[in-house]
């Protein structure tokens, strides 16, 4: 057939010796919608970051229209017409929808003609079937509307390939319809779409082809009619890699520590859960199903209705401070931004929350702080053992251990881990699992929120699957297999589980 728009030849990427992409050969045809599937850590996000110039590949080639291109910086990708829509909206809040759509591509000349900008934007909106008031300020749009407008801005930037990463995560059903119409218009214009989603029915409905990544390699490419649950599951699950020989032996005691009673937010229908002392509850589901709402409520980052009880006492949690006082430790996914001080040393980072315990007469006792930091380094096997080293020089896995270390002195009653091994090098995963199991063994209630099925099977004693803001399945780990759990997360309707 014709030359593909983008062809990847033996693309490899390693991060300090860890091979994340192990030779990807993949082509995106002009005007096709290409689904990209794979478990967390399969290499999807690394692949996207190479295409958008965030990372440079370690080896291999990217061909565009058959000619090799180099994408070293985001601006290179922009010039070549490769764009991505991320979750965060990229709009100018005080400008109107029309001004945002045309931003950066206004009619030539030094002056701004608002009427022409508006006309041009209305033209684009008509073309892609977006019905919104062009004069509304972007700040007044809902999250979904913002996403639509962001897509419309891409249209004007004359992109040739657009990567959509979990675009429906925040959208309702009718909004998803509108998004699909938009994507169809993009295809009519000959623009290629790379569509990343955990939702199989969306991929099935939308995509001409789908590629499944597994463990840094392409495990299969399917034509539209071949996209079936069993086939996809089979290609996603990594059977070649030996299962981590780690498992939860059943640590739960009888006493309930953490209780969510009718927890409700605007994206979470009343949800009730209990976690016992020593129990590790794994929560999974497609992105945007509401898992992040549980984490936000418990961490004091978002408003909720309903009760959160710790050791049987209702604790209203309005801020991260309340959450900490209630004995809840949240270990967020974005550790660099939300849990660590990159320029402070490892010792300062881990001893910070324990300052009051380590202080003498209200003054920081440096010797005590250092001794404490050293004990954390030993206990969590943080490598290198350099408490004085600024946090940003540690690897993802060791940063994760440091975040856990922040809580060891205060001994939280409940630990909430969000994607505990994302960005963590393979070698450190096992150690982190053992630390989490150790917390459960010491009697804490633990929730692990993760999109990795493998992770939940290794850690959990109980597993909850969330769909559309509600629990669609709640069952003991022993009743799950990889296939059944994966099937439950990628299809909206949970199949009956055979033990």
């Amino acid at each position: 057939m014709s030359v593909p728009l983008i062809a990847l030849l033996d693309l490899r990427k390693d991060f300090s010796g860890v091979h994340v992409l192990k030779g990807i050969d993949l082509a995106f045809e002009a005007g096709e919608i290409h689904g990209l599937l794979g478990e967390n850590g399969a290499g999807k996000s690394t692949l996207i970051k190479i295409l958008t110039g965030v990372y440079a590949p370690s080896s291999g080639q990217v061909l565009m229209d058959g000619k090799p291109v180099t994408i070293h910086r985001p601006i290179d990708a922009h010039r070549l017409g490769l764009g991505a829509v991320y979750q965060d909206s990229e709009l100018v809040g005080s400008y109107t929808v029309a001004e945002n759509i045309v931003l950066g591509n206004e009619p030539r000349g030094p002056w701004i003609n608002r009427r022409r900008i508006r006309a041009e934007a209305v033209g684009i909106m008509d073309q892609i079937g977006l019905t919104l008031d062009p004069d509304r300020p972007a700040a007044s749009l809902t999250a979904a509307e913002m996403q639509m407008v962001t897509l419309a801005t891409l249209f004007h930037r004359k992109y040739r390939l657009i990567i959509l990463d979990e675009p429906t995560a925040r959208l309702s059903a009718p909004e998803t319809r509108l998004l699909f119409q938009l994507i169809a218009r993009f295809r009519q214009q000959g623009i290629s779409i790379v569509y990343i989603s955990h939702r199989l029915n969306e991929i099935k409905e939308l995509c001409d082809r789908a590629t499944i990544l597994r463990d840094g390699m392409v495990s299969g490419s399917l034509q539209r009619h071949e996209i079936e649950e069993e086939i996809v599951t089979k290609l996603m699950v990594n059977r070649s890699m030996a299962e981590l020989d780690i498992g939860n032996p059943g640590l739960a005691q009888d006493r309930v520590v953490l209780e969510l009673d009718g927890l409700t937010t605007d994206r979470l229908s009343p949800l009730s859960l209990t976690v016992r002392a020593g129990e590790i509850l794994g929560i999974t589901g497609p992105l945007g199903a509401g898992m992040e709402q549980i984490e936000r409520s418990l961490g004091g980052l978002g408003a909720y209705r309903g009760d959160i009880r710790v050791d049987g006492v209702v604790r209203p949690i309005r801020s991260p401070h309340d959450s900490r006082k209630a004995g809840i430790a949240l270990i967020p996914e974005d550790r660099r931004k939300q849990a660590l001080f990159p320029n402070l040393s490892l010792a300062e980072n881990v001893s910070l929350p324990a300052m009051s315990e380590l202080a003498k007469l209200g003054l920081i006792a440096h010797a005590a702080a250092n001794a404490y930091a050293n004990s954390v380094v030993q206990r969590l096997a943080i490598h290198p053992q350099a408490p004085e080293r600024p946090m940003r020089y540690f690897s993802g896995g060791n940063q994760q251990k440091a975040v856990i270390g922040k809580w060891l002195k205060r001994e939280a009653r409940a630990y909430i881990f969000v994607e505990p091994t994302s960005g963590v090098d393979v070698g450190a995963i096992r150690q982190i699992y053992e630390i989490i199991l150790g917390l459960a063994r010491s009697g804490a209630a633990v929730i692990v929120i993760s999109t990795s099925v493998k992770e939940l099977l290794a850690l959990s004693e109980t597993i909850a699957v969330i769909h559309h803001g509600a629990i669609s399945a709640l069952l003991p780990r022993a009743d799950c297999t990889r296939d059944s759990l994966l099937a439950m997360t990628i299809s909206a309707t949970a199949p009956s589980v055979a033990a």
């Binding site: 100018v92 001004e99 701004i112 009718g262 409700t264 209705r305």
Partner: protein
């Protein structure tokens, strides 16, 4: 509508009951500052018969010229999301450069070269903030001290007189067209030009976009560094025009004194941002903000309020203005303390 669970956060109240107060709030947002300005004006008119006169109005306009120019320039920088602490001293520097050059280059040459000097100051500020990655506060604070030193070198601490024979140059600051002072007309012209630049040109459009969401601007292919630099050049250029008018008004350049414009300018810009409820700096707001400050100063003067009290009042106005601005742009979590 039954809610069985206890509410931690009150659920959103019914739209009907809230609707009217929201409308009221909306009205206050839009017109609140202007209402305050009018009320304060009426208050002074009540207190002093000399306040509401044409000649006093002319006086207020005349006294605010330099401050208004500096504030309008600063508006561009704040709109681009940065700070310029060197605007005040730039007035002095440009004033000195003008006074020193006129004997050698004549009026036109002196003015042009002085404005070029102003643009260079802005260019250096802009490059430091963008390519050199310094914060706006730090780099322009440095520039403020550097210019202060240069001003001392250039003048040895003495004022620089402009020859009495420079009639045309003196007309810039001292001329009159009928009842209106010529520099007030200049101010009006610069305001109109600036307003068109801010609202109708790509420069103004892109500066606003960069200041609002630099990431979005970057992804839209806007050259973010260029427009931030342009905003600093505009700021220095406007301050420079102020410096030239100041030189003409007093027929001399003073070695110090421009610093005073800095705080007035910040007060005016942030006060102006609340005008018409925009929540972001705009030139018309800034101009009204400056007018308000000088009107209050004039009124207090007439009523016989001491300089100390006026100083205190200006400080409070700045805090209130910025506070009102923060209310307009309420973020979910406020964690920025610059």
């Amino acid at each position: 509508m039954t809610m069985t669970t206890t509410a931690v956060v009150p659920p959103p109240t019914q739209a009907g009951a809230k609707g009217r107060s929201r409308n009221g709030l909306h009205f206050l947002r839009r017109w609140g500052t202007i209402i305050v300005i009018v009320l304060v004006g009426l208050l002074f008119s009540k207190l002093s018969p000399y306040f509401p006169t044409i000649s006093n109005f002319n006086n207020i306009l005349f006294s605010m010229i330099v401050s208004a120019l500096v504030s309008m320039g600063l508006t561009f920088v704040v709109a681009a999301g940065s700070f310029d602490l060197s605007v005040g001293v730039t007035v002095t520097t440009v004033s000195i450069v003008t006074a020193l050059l006129i004997p050698y280059t004549g009026m036109a040459g002196g003015i042009i070269l002085a404005l070029i000097a102003a643009c260079l100051i802005g260019l250096v500020n802009g490059l430091l903030v963008t390519y050199a990655r310094l914060s706006g506060i730090v780099s322009t604070l440095g520039m403020m001290f550097v210019l202060g030193g240069i001003n001392q070198y250039l003048t040895n601490g003495y004022q620089v007189p402009v020859a009495y024979g420079e009639v045309a140059f003196r007309y810039i600051g001292q001329g009159r067209v009928g009842p209106i002072a010529f520099p007030v007309i200049l101010l009006a012209l610069v305001f109109i030009a600036g307003h068109i630049l801010a609202t109708r040109s790509k420069a103004g459009h892109y500066i606003g976009a960069v200041g609002d969401n630099p990431m979005a601007a970057y992804y839209s292919g806007i050259l973010v560094y260029r427009w931030v630099t342009v905003s600093f050049v505009l700021s220095a250029l406007f301050a420079g025009i102020g410096g030239i008018i100041l030189t003409s008004i007093s027929s001399s350049a003073q070695p110090v004194g421009g610093e005073g414009y800095l705080l007035e300018a910040f007060a005016a810009v942030f006060l102006g941002a609340t005008i018409l409820g925009k929540g972001k700096p705009h030139l018309l707001g800034t101009l009204l903000g400056v007018f308000f400050l000088y009107m209050v100063s004039s009124g207090m003067n007439m009523v016989g309020i001491s300089f100390a009290t006026r100083q205190l009042f200006n400080g409070l106005v700045l805090i209130l203005a910025v506070g009102a601005n923060a209310l307009l742009n309420r973020e979910e979590i406020h964690l920025k303390f610059i």
